[in-house]
Amino acid sequence: MPDVLVWLMKAGAIFGILLGTAAYLTLAERKVSAWIQYRYGPNRVGPWGLFQPFADLIKFIFKEEVAPAGANPLMFRLAPFLSAIPAMLTVAVIPFGPEVRIGEVATNLSIVDLDVGALYLLAFSGLAVYGPILGGWASNSKYSLLGGLRASAQMVSYELTLILCLLAVVTLSGTLDLREIVTSQAERGVWNVFVQPVAFVLFVVATFAETNRHPFDFAECEPELVGGFHTEYSAMRFALFFLGEYCAMIVMAGLTTTLFLGGFGIPFVEDPHWVLGFLAFMTKTAMFLFLFLWVRWTLPRFRFDQLMGLGWKVFLPVALVNLFLTGAVVSLLG
């Protein structure tokens, strides 16, 4: 089988998994929120409401699109794509599983294995900040603009912590290739979460801020800003913002799994079958996704100055010290 065909199949499968998971994550969010609040959640469309995402999609497609009169036409239409596409692109470097062998074809279960995978991922997730800020600015609405400003300030400041924590892991593994970070954890026999507990906690919290999730969802912040940067959006463009948020959550959950929880590795199992490896990866990622939902329906929202204070005065110094200590230990032990 030609390489291009294999690559296309891989890309299609992984992209399908990403979008399917994002669709069902919206259902999971509504279900989890309902259960926590003694409710049933959506249960009318199909068994246990399992077809709800399709109903939502159909609704989004058939709704009328409304744009404010003063909106910048180009930017207003561009922003949802800028929000959704970087989140979808970042999934390319996440290693979903070990090497797959079917017949004579052997390939790694990720769209590409870049030597600088971590860098690529950070670069593209950094682009995601353009979606909220452009959407907020182009809407010509004060609420949208405030939401966009907050989103950009928050994403930029928490990205620092995110990068510093990732660098600590990179220092340990000595590579930016995400697949090699996974294999190095398997070789060492211990997951990075036990070697880098501080970086792990900081990374997870920074992920929440980076994806604009509770308790850091100041980009939306309904009580103050109506709907934040997507106040003025409707129909499919709103759905794209939504899709971007959920795709970013999935990628970040996958990244946390890869960096700290041994990716597709299974403890005490040498060289597992690729199906098992894939399932292990998906299980760990699903746990993180559940954590996202769980935290959202547990914690109240921070105050914006508290968020910035936490990011710059606590997380950044701690992450810096952690990186410094990691570097020192690694260079001393060689």
Binding site: I36, V295, W297, T298, L299
Partner: protein, 173 residues
């Protein structure tokens, strides 16, 4: 001057994480708690004989409607929801309604018709659901209002008990 003593926060409280985990433990337990939502169309609203639902006309056990079209309920109705035309019958009770319409969109479920009726012919049932696509469809005619006496018996007994109490005791005597 009042000096407010601020409690010094412990390290665990300032770290904030233990409290987060405590909160998350609580919400995790609630994931499996009993649901309180009533699944409405499948689980109907609980009703008792005190429930003052839509008025319905009593059909006696011999198959004849109890109403004699005297028009008292029509007069008592504060919302002008009732319209009655009567005609004569061959029975001992010489009159019955030819037309008895209640506009359910006007009806305010006050129960005055039930109180006004001298023949125990109209009672507030426990039927509460009211939905259709046109206004005209919600003007109920006599056929849609008829209910066998057995279906309304609980309400009839309740109204009798209530009337007995009013007769036997008064707040002014």
């Amino acid at each position: 001057m009042v000096v407010v003593e601020r409690k010094e926060l412990t390290l665990a409280e300032r770290l904030y994480l233990p409290e987060i985990f405590r909160g998350m433990a609580i919400t995790f337990r609630k994931l499996f708690a009993k649901r309180v939502t009533r699944q409405y169309p499948e689980e109907p609203l609980p009703t008792t004989e005190v429930t003052r639902g839509q008025p319905r006309l009593v059909v006696n056990d011999d198959g004849n409607i109890a109403c004699v079209s005297c028009g008292l309920c029509e007069a008592a109705c504060p919302a002008y929801a009732i319209t009655i035309d009567g005609h004569e019958t061959d029975r001992t009770i010489e009159r019955e309604p030819e037309r008895f319409d209640i506009d359910m969109l006007r009806c305010i479920l006050c129960g005055f018709c039930e109180e006004a009726c001298p023949k125990d012919a109209i009672f507030m049932s426990d039927e509460l659901e009211l939905a259709d696509y046109t206004r005209q469809a919600l003007v109920y005619n006599i056929e849609r209002l008829k209910r066998p006496k057995s279906a309304l018996q609980a309400r009839i007994d309740y109204v009798y008990r209530l009337n007995d109490r009013w007769q036997s005791s008064s707040s002014t005597s």
